[in-house]
């Protein structure tokens, strides 16, 4: 799948030129094949993720069998427990068993709370997804708008200001934005809550979501604006845009329907590449705002040496990264049918 990203990148320039009207939408069958193909390609990466998480469990300082058996247990008892847990088997077999357990949703129990890790994760995934989606809903339209404005007003003061904002945004640590928002908007002005999550959005949780979402989203606005500007600029010089103008279409229609739509392809690619920033940013944002998500769970678990929980949280984060890339791949095929024809 990552391999596709590089190919997509190589195609960035080309892809910006394809006229929307000439493109056929991908049918169900081809789409399904594409998705299966992409899933297969991401298997090695998935195995890598699982192996890393398996390694994490191997570093537990004490022998689990001794812990379970207690300090005064006989040697035979400990051996029996080792056998029972499968700890006497070769490491490769243990890894295979581990994958089997993960597939059944058995990620062990937290050392701290003794709750099942899978249950802890179930509580935290929702808030994390909510935060990421909210950040994207904020960053994508704003980034597209700024990028398009900059491209249309090429070389003007507006263009320069927007690009300056975007460079500054790319250079800003996530936590700096968060600190400023907490200090000024949350504390000094007292406008919005800045610790914890009041609940789902539909149950009055919106105010507590705003500051974390703005923090995370602002990291993405800069890159999106930048690539949109480049893509729209290129498309504006393309033949089909000249044709559209020659047909006497209004400039607004030309930009919205002809230019921006085609410029979306590189933007989607970029969003896939930004998934790593989105994820890393989410970990920092959750920690700052005490947002009860997977990232905060992971950081907390690592700080308290809760290996099973840390392993589970890192696995979920890594798999969601793979999933974001998969979704981007699918959207990409949908937007650019030429990829399928290869």
């Amino acid at each position: 799948m990552q391999h596709n990203i590089s190919r997509r990148l190589a195609e960035l320039e080309l892809s910006a030129y394809h006229p929307k009207n000439g493109a056929q939408r991908v049918g169900g069958d081809g789409m399904g094949r594409q998705i299966i193909h992409r899933l297969l390609i991401s298997l090695p990466a998935l195995l890598g993720v699982l192996f890393l998480c398996f390694c994490l469990l191997q570093v537990v300082p004490a022998d689990p069998a001794i812990i379970i058996a207690g300090p005064d247990a006989k040697k035979e008892t400990v051996e029996a427990i080792r056998k029972d847990l499968g700890l006497d088997q070769p490491i490769v077999l243990q890894f295979v068993n581990y994958i089997g357990r993960v597939a059944q949703g058995d990620l062990g129990r937290s050392i701290i709370s003794n709750k099942k890790v899978i249950e802890e994760l179930a509580y935290t995934i929702g808030p994390t997804v909510e935060l990421m989606v909210a950040a994207m809903l904020l960053a994508v339209p704003v980034g597209l708008l700024l990028g398009t404005l900059a491209a249309v007003s090429r070389g003007s003061i507006l263009d320069r200001i927007i690009m300056a904002i975007s460079v500054a945004g790319v250079s800003m640590p996530v936590f700096f934005i968060g600190l400023l928002l907490i200090q000024v908007v949350g504390y000094r002005w007292g406008l919005l809550p800045f610790t914890g999550r009041a609940g789902p959005v539909w149950a009055g949780g919106l105010p507590s979501l705003i500051l974390p979402a703005v923090t995370l989203g602002s990291v993405l606005i800069g890159p999106i604006a930048r690539i949109t500007r480049t893509a729209v600029r290129e498309v504006l010089g393309a033949d089909f845009v000249r044709t559209a103008r020659a047909k006497g279409l209004k400039e607004r229609v030309v930009i919205m329907h002809h230019a921006l739509r085609n410029a979306l392809i590189p933007v989607v690619t970029l969003i896939g590449l930004q998934a790593a920033f989105l994820l890393g940013g989410a970990v920092v944002t959750e920690t700052m705002f005490s947002w009860p998500g997977v990232g905060r769970l992971a950081v907390g678990a690592i700080t308290s040496s809760d290996f099973p929980t840390a392993q589970g949280a890192i696995m979920v984060l890594a798999i969601s990264f793979l999933a974001i890339n998969l979704i981007v791949d699918v959207i990409y095929v949908y937007l650019d049918p030429r990829v399928q024809r290869e």
Partner: protein, 299 residues
């Protein structure tokens, strides 16, 4: 910017290194000096690097000296940036913190750049192992840097080692791709064949003909990555996965200042601002350097 770089780096072979390369480079530097943005960014960057290099000489106080009678003071003539919760001078800590932050980032970029460049060049030179190397790179790309940092910190305990490892792993795959892309272009040049024909060893071909022709692309790309690497490193520091107190590191200092954000925002804001300035200067300077040294990387 990463996007454009990978996207176009694989097209077009690098020009062969020749005697004319030196004057060309000198004129590139002159062009760089005429670019006012590059000049300002370069000066800011140089200021940070210089101050942190001679930290013991320029820091007004011992960054670890605690003074409980001077806790959390606002900026003043005696303490330009104020003091923190242990009465330590923030300016001195920022200077030492910059040193650690830069060193951590540099270690990641240099080691990661070396390993990534090596992998990319080997992949381009020995097509038999190309597939294996690039699949390995793909798997590495499946882990966002922050996650690697978290995982390494979980396995080996939080510390500078965890952060540097994460930064190396974050640098290797991108550099491997860029250097492979650039090296594949060079491989198709006639002088490669000529070198082989006169009986040069693989090692000589790889170093003299291949690596030296790709090195400016790799270098420019590393410069462009440096800002991002500093950001990732300081984010891990902020999360408590990196340098441990009392060591001064900018990300960790920002995290510590968070506890006093409402009564004394400067404790957290000043280190954050320092990171922002370093990264901004590095990004602007990297862009300018790319424009003059390797315009092919530009979109």
């Amino acid at each position: 910017m990463t996007v454009d770089a990978i996207g176009t780096a694989r097209t077009g072979p690098a020009p062969i290194v020749s005697e004319s390369a030196l004057p060309a480079r000198a004129s590139a530097l002159r062009r760089l000096a005429r670019d006012s943005v590059a000049l300002i960014a370069g000066s800011i960057l140089a200021l940070f690097v210089l101050a942190s290099a001679v930290a013991p000489l320029v820091a007004p106080y011992d960054p670890y000296f605690t003074n409980m009678s001077k806790v959390i003071q606002p900026p003043s003539a005696m303490h330009w940036f104020g003091t923190d919760n242990a009465g330590r001078d923030i300016l001195s800590r920022v200077i030492y913190g910059t040193r650690n932050t830069l060193l951590i980032g540099l270690a990641g970029v240099v080691i990661g750049g070396f390993l990534g460049g090596l992998l990319g060049i080997l992949a381009a030179f020995y097509r038999r192992i190309d597939g294996v190397i690039m699949r390995l790179v793909d798997v590495m790309l499946a882990f966002p840097a922050i996650l690697i940092g978290l995982a390494v910190a979980a396995i080996s305990g939080a510390g500078i080692l965890a952060v540097v490892t994460a930064l190396i792993i974050a640098t290797v795959p991108d550099i491997a791709r860029v250097s492979r892309g650039s090296a594949v272009g060079v491989m198709s040049q006639e002088y490669m064949e000529a070198g082989r024909a006169i009986g040069l060893s693989d090692l000589a071909l790889m170093w003299r003909y291949l690596t030296l022709n790709c090195i400016s692309t790799i270098f420019v790309f590393l410069t462009l990555r440096f800002g991002q690497i500093i950001l990732i490193g300081s984010a891990l520091g902020f999360l408590g996965m990196g340098a441990q107190p009392p060591t001064a590191e900018l990300g960790m200092m920002a995290a510590q200042g968070r506890d006093f954000l409402f009564m004394a925002p400067h404790v957290a804001v000043i280190p954050s601002l320092a990171i922002f300035l370093i990264v901004l200067a590095a990004n602007l300077f990297g862009d300018a350097l790319r424009d003059v040294l390797d315009p092919r990387l530009q979109q």
